[in-house]
C-alpha cells in the first residue's frame, strides 16, 4: 500500500487572516491538494471559534474553488457529529490564529490532537498561521500574551518554531534565548513566509511577499546560528526555479557518532 506524503505548511503569518487581498499563500496550499475541488476544513479553535473569523474563512475559500467546512468546538451541536470521520475526509485542514495555549487545551479535550496526527499520516495536508503554525511542532515560542513563552506543540515536526519572526522583536530575542537554554533547533518564519514540510523534512519556503523569509536556527557551541533559507516568492515575478536546499539545511538526523 502506497501512503500519501505527509505535508505541513506552517505560515509565519499571512493568508486570508492577515493579508486581505493577497491570496498567494492560500492559493498555494489549495494547489498542493491536486484536487479539482478540494475539501478544506477550517479549525478556528485558537480564536475561541470567533464568528467573524469563520465568516472570513468562507469568504476566502469560496464555493467555486473548494468545498469548505469548519469545526467549532464551542458549538459542537451545530457541526459534524463524527469529528474524526470529517477531518480524515479532507484534502486540507487549515488552522487559524489566536491563543496556541487555548488551542492545544481544547484540542486535547476533544481528541483532535490524535485525529490530526492520523490525518497527517493519511496524507491530509495540514496548514495554518501563527498559533495554527506553532501547533505542529515539538516546541514553540508563543508571544500571544505577555512575555513570550516556551511551550510544547503536537510534536508532528521534531523542531522548534517561531512565527511573526521580525528583527528585534521580543519574540525574536526570546527564541534565541530559549535555544541557548536548550530548546531544540528549528525554524522561524516572517509574516508572509511559509515553511513547507514533506514528512519531517523542510522541502521549501514560499512567500506571499517578495521580502518575506524563513530561517533555520540552531545552537552550535553555545551560540545561536541563524541561516536564511532561499525563499520562493509566489507572486507575479517570473517563477525562478527553486534551488534544492543546501546540504547544511538538510533536516535529516545526523547519524549517531
Amino acid at each position: 500500500m502506497k501512503t500519501a506524503a505527509r505535508q505541513i505548511v506552517a505560515f509565519g503569518g499571512g493568508g486570508f487572516s492577515m493579508e486581505s487581498g493577497n491570496p498567494l499563500l492560500d492559493d498555494y496550499v489549495l494547489g498542493l491538494t491536486k484536487a479539482e475541488r478540494p475539501r478544506v476544513c477550517f479549525l478556528p479553535s485558537a480564536s475561541g471559534d470567533a464568528d467573524h473569523y469563520v465568516v472570513r474563512f468562507y469568504r476566502a475559500f469560496a464555493a467555486h474553488r473548494c468545498e469548505a467546512s469548519h469545526i467549532s468546538l464551542f458549538r459542537r451541536e451545530q457541526g459534524p457529529a463524527d469529528l474524526r470521520r470529517h477531518l480524515l475526509s479532507q484534502d486540507l485542514i487549515y488552522v487559524g490564529g489566536g491563543s496556541v495555549v487555548s488551542l492545544l487545551g481544547v484540542w486535547r479535550a476533544h481528541g483532535i490532537d490524535a485525529i490530526l496526527r492520523e490525518a497527517w499520516e493519511a496524507g491530509v495536508i495540514l496548514c495554518g498561521l501563527s498559533a495554527g503554525s506553532l501547533c505542529w511542532f515539538e516546541e514553540a515560542v508563543s508571544g500571544f500574551h505577555g512575555e513570550p513563552q516556551r511551550l510544547h506543540g503536537l510534536g508532528l515536526l521534531p523542531f522548534s518554531n517561531c512565527v511573526h519572526y521580525e528583527r528585534g522583536s521580543a519574540r525574536c530575542e526570546a527564541y534565541r534565548r530559549f535555544l541557548r537554554e536548550g530548546m531544540c533547533g528549528g525554524y522561524a518564519a516572517e509574516d508572509g513566509a511559509a515553511l513547507h514540510f514533506t514528512g519531517e523534512e523542510l522541502s521549501r519556503v514560499v512567500a506571499s511577499r517578495p521580502q518575506a523569509r524563513g530561517y533555520r536556527l540552531d545552537v552550535a557551541g553555545g551560540r545561536v546560528v541563524e541561516m536564511q533559507i532561499a525563499t520562493a516568492f509566489l507572486g507575479d515575478r517570473p517563477p525562478s526555479p527553486v534551488a534544492p536546499l543546501p546540504e547544511a539545511l538538510s533536516t535529516a538526523l545526523a547519524p549517531a557518532a
Binding site: S72, F74, R75, V101, R108, A109, H145, G146
Partner: protein, 277 residues
C-alpha cells in the same frame, strides 16, 4: 479581638467560601434577569462595599463578544467595577491574570461548553487561581457550564448529545442545569446518577443554589415555577425532590431607577425649601 468592618475576624478565621450556581439566565432587562443581577451585586457588595469588583470569565463561550457585552450592559451602569478576562483575547489586552482575578469580589463564569471551559482553564492554569479565590472568600458564581464547573460532575452538551463530564470538584456532588427546560439533559442526569454519578442537584433556568460555608445550600428562584431539586440515588433508585426556595424579587428597571432617584432629589429639594411642610 479586632473585628473588621464586615464583622468578620481578620485573618485568624477562614473566610466563608461562597458559590452561587444558577441553572440558566441571561443578562437581559427582563425582570427575572434583573433579579439575578441584583443578587450577584448584593453578594459582591457583602465584602466589596459600595463599588465591588465583578469579573466575568466568558471562556466557555469562546469569549464571544455577545456574552461580554451583555454582561457590561447589565453591570456597566450599576454601582460596581465590572471587568472581563477573555483568555482568547489576552493577546490584544494583556493583563496579570492571577492578580486581576484575586482582586475581585465576585467572579462570574458564563455558559457554553463545559469541556472546553475546563480544558482552556487547565491550559492557562486558571483552575488553581479560582480555587484559591474561593478559599479567600471571593464569591464564585455562574450559570449553565459556569455553574456545573464547580461540582464533581455535570451533564454537558459540549459534544452534541448530553453526557456526563467532570468539573473542578470544589463542591461535592453533581449538578444538572436547564433541568426542566431541556428534558433530554434531565433524563441523561437521572440515568447517570442511577449509574453511580455522585448525587446532586437539578436546577431549572432561573433557579439557583447558594453555598455559604459548609453545609447545605439555600435554594433561590427568580421566576415563579423555576425550581431547584435534590437528586439522590439509593441502590440504583433515583429520587428527585424539589427544594423550598426563596423568591428573588426583581428590582425596578434601570430607567425607572433613574426616575425614582430624580423624584427623590426633587422631593428633598422641596422639603428643604419648605414646600412639603
Amino acid at each position: 479581638m479586632p473585628v473588621d468592618g464586615n464583622g468578620r475576624l481578620p485573618s485568624a478565621t477562614t473566610p466563608v467560601r461562597r458559590v452561587l450556581a444558577l441553572g440558566g439566565h441571561e443578562f437581559s432587562s427582563r425582570p427575572a434577569d434583573r433579579a439575578v443581577c441584583e443578587l450577584l451585586l448584593r453578594l459582591a457588595s457583602e465584602h466589596g462595599g459600595k463599588r465591588p469588583r465583578i469579573c466575568i470569565l466568558p471562556t466557555a463561550s469562546g469569549d464571544t463578544s455577545e456574552q461580554i457585552s451583555s454582561f457590561y450592559a447589565a453591570f456597566g451602569e450599576r454601582p460596581c467595577e465590572p471587568s472581563d478576562v477573555s483568555l482568547f483575547r489576552l493577546g490584544r489586552r494583556p493583563l496579570a491574570l492571577r492578580d486581576h482575578l484575586l482582586a475581585q469580589h465576585l467572579i462570574y463564569v458564563g455558559g457554553g461548553s463545559l469541556v472546553n471551559l475546563l480544558a482552556v482553564w487547565e491550559a492557562h492554569d486558571v483552575a488553581s487561581i479560582l480555587s484559591l479565590a474561593w478559599r479567600q472568600g471571593i464569591v464564585l458564581a455562574g450559570q449553565s457550564a459556569g455553574a456545573m464547573c464547580w461540582f464533581e460532575a455535570g451533564i454537558t452538551k459540549s459534544s452534541g448529545k448530553p453526557r456526563p463530564a467532570a468539573g473542578l470538584a470544589l463542591l461535592h456532588g453533581s449538578l444538572c442545569v436547564h433541568y426542566n427546560n431541556e428534558p433530554e439533559r434531565r433524563a441523561a442526569y437521572l440515568d447517570a446518577v442511577g449509574d453511580g454519578m455522585p448525587s446532586g442537584y437539578g436546577l431549572d433556568d432561573y433557579a439557583g443554589l447558594l453555598w455559604e460555608g459548609e453545609g447545605t445550600p439555600s435554594a433561590l428562584t427568580a421566576r415563579r415555577g423555576a425550581r431547584a431539586y435534590r437528586v439522590t440515588s439509593q441502590e440504583g433508585e433515583v429520587t428527585e425532590s424539589a427544594l423550598p426556595a426563596r423568591f428573588l424579587p426583581a428590582p425596578a428597571p434601570a430607567a425607572l431607577r433613574e426616575d425614582i432617584a430624580e423624584f427623590r432629589r426633587i422631593k428633598t429639594m422641596r422639603r428643604r425649601a419648605g414646600w412639603l411642610g
